[in-house]
């Protein structure tokens, strides 16, 4: 008790001395100025980013919006701009989205559960963890080369949806693992303790309490990484996804194209009409990506009230 009193008085004294030293008004004014300058600097950085984004989006909308019609969605690509559409690309993107999710989510989430809950605190686990981090920062074209070597050539999947989706699944796997691990880590110890104190076994704590509590965070990470896969071009070009596809894939063994490749293809043509088609396809891709991001935000908000 006496201790607390002592420290209390010393705090008050400290406060006093500081108050006296503040007589230096000049220094104070300078500090305030820096404060303001820094604030303005941050503000202008954000503004710059926003303005750039708006200019880009507006530019794309202006050049592409007139091409958005029902035909644009129901036609295959064509040598004639007026008849060209994104049917094959959008169907291909949907296939890739579903397949990539189907491969990457179960694998990534289980890996995260293993690493967080079950892996021993050993050197080799630490080593794996570090390399997952490294993989997450790897340029996507490297994944394309891996996909080409392993899936296309070695496993003989050729230029199929399967090869493409597996490649993209590899690409997003590290991100899914890391974000799921973060979500699991964020579940407070008190929740686990509460469960254990009621005589729960480890798997019951992990699967009935920790995972449900981590689910919104896991979902957010999963959606954001899958949306990254949808926007990827380079690895798919490396594995040889086609750019001129006049059919919709019917199975995972079929060849395919996706929206970003279609965009890339049109944008590299000399004619202005095709550039506008590319802009129209970009609008569609952007809408898709924004929708996925909003879904992620929505899920996070929805479960916010359960935040511990």
């Amino acid at each position: 008790m006496a201790n607390t009193n002592d420290s209390l008085t010393s705090v008050i004294e400290l406060g006093n001395t500081e108050h006296e030293s503040v007589v230096n008004q000049k220094r104070m004014a300078k500090r305030k100025l820096y404060d303001k300058l820094f604030y303005r600097l941050c503000q202008s950085t954000i503004l710059l980013a926003l303005v750039t984004l708006v200019i880009l989006v507006v530019h794309i909308i202006i050049s592409g919006v007139s091409w958005l019609s029902l035909d644009f969605f129901t036609n295959f690509t064509s040598r004639f701009a007026e008849q060209a559409g994104i049917k094959a690309a959008i169907m291909g993107s949907m296939w890739v989205l579903v397949l990539t999710a189907a491969f990457a989510i179960p694998l990534g989430v289980s890996a995260a559960i293993f690493l967080e809950e079950y892996a021993p605190k050993k050197k080799w686990v630490e080593w794996i963890q570090i390399n997952i981090g490294n993989l997450a920062g790897m340029p996507s074209i490297v994944y394309g080369l891996v996909g080409l070597t392993v899936f296309v050539r070695y496993l003989n999947f050729e230029r199929s949806l399967l090869a493409g989706s597996l490649t993209l699944a590899l690409l997003v796997l590290p991100i899914i693992i890391i974000s799921s691990q973060e979500a699991i880590k964020a579940v407070p110890l008190s929740l686990r303790e509460a469960a254990y104190a009621l005589g729960a076994k480890k798997w019951q704590v992990v699967f009935l309490q920790v995972l449900p509590a981590a689910l919104p965070g896991i979902l957010t990470g999963v959606i954001l990484s899958i949306s990254r896969a949808i926007g990827e071009t380079a690895p798919l070009i490396v594995i040889g996804a086609l750019s001129f596809v006049a059919f919709t894939p019917a199975s995972i063994w079929d060849e395919f194209t996706v929206l970003p490749i279609q965009i890339y293809n049109w944008a590299s043509k000399p004619q202005e009409e095709f550039h506008q088609l590319a802009a129209a396809a970009i609008i569609v891709l952007l809408v898709l990506l924004f929708a996925m991001n909003f879904l992620a935000i929505y899920l996070r908000q929805k479960y916010q009230r359960y935040k511990l």
Binding site: L191, A194, G199, R305
Partner: protein, 257 residues
């Protein structure tokens, strides 16, 4: 000394030369303790003296602290808790724990109560169990119309009583409480103190508290810890009126701590 304690002096929980280490650092030094069935034991002592550490070694919650190591024996109904034959999972369903900060599950009030019994294979009438547990925790009246609302909508004091109800639903023999009132206002504290007095007819309670008045009001026996050692223990009235160790007196009267 309360009536129930003198009538029934069967020892339910006993520690023998209990040492607890965190890494190389020893947090509990050779503590011997005997708790009688149907009594309330209070653990007191300055912050950092090892009360929580000691309490958590009584239902093997320290198993989850990777650096913690327990040496010595804890007998519960004659069995050593740290022998290989004892299943800590089963043990924790008999020795329940209420934590310092209310930690309800992010589920409905109803499911907070039923989760423990369910995973332990309880097949009886859940509605009845929920009602009974909430009544015993003195919470039924306040929540009976909103059993399916989120437990997070409750006040701190209500949440803590829900956590007690959740523990009671397992029908444990012993309830360990680690400063259950420290996050609560005086009224909720009063409610929980009343509850503890009520509960000791059925359960044995070991409670950590920083509140001397509280220890004096609700406990039958008091254990005073200092730097990992059990300095003095015995009948609460005696400890509070004529302690035999100077340090105990200094602590109780607020001269240090």
């Amino acid at each position: 000394m309360s009536a129930s304690a003198s009538e029934n002096s069967e020892i339910i929980l006993e520690t023998k030369d209990l040492n607890v280490f965190y890494g190389d650092k020893q947090a509990i030094h050779s503590v011997n303790m005997q708790v009688k069935k149907g009594t309330v034991a209070a653990l007191i002592g300055p912050s950092g003296c090892g009360k929580s550490t000691f309490l958590r070694s009584l239902n093997r919650m320290n198993d989850f602290v990777s650096t913690a190591r327990v040496d010595g024996k804890v007998f519960y109904q004659g069995k050593n808790l740290y022998s290989k034959k004892v299943d800590p999972v089963e043990l924790r369903s008999q020795i329940g724990m209420v934590f310092q900060k209310p930690n309800p599950f992010p589920k409905s009030i109803y499911k907070n109560i039923t989760w423990g019994p369910k995973i332990n294979g309880f097949t009886g009438d859940m509605d009845l169990l929920v009602e009974k547990s909430l009544k015993r925790a003195a919470l039924w009246g306040e929540v009976k119309d909103r059993l399916h609302d989120s437990a997070f909508d409750l006040s701190g004091g209500q949440q803590q009583r829900l956590c007690i109800a959740r523990t009671i639903a397992m029908n444990p023999d012993v309830i360990l409480m680690d400063e259950p009132c420290s996050a609560l206002d005086p009224r909720s504290t009063q409610a929980i103190e009343d509850l503890i007095t009520e509960l000791k007819r059925r359960y044995t309670i070991i409670i950590v508290t920083h509140n001397m008045q509280q220890a004096g009001r609700i406990s039958d026996e008091t254990y005073f810890f200092h730097e990992g050692n059990l300095i003095e223990s015995g009948d609460t009235k005696q400890i509070f009126t004529k302690p035999s160790v100077q340090m105990t007196e200094d602590y109780i009267t607020g001269r240090f701590g």
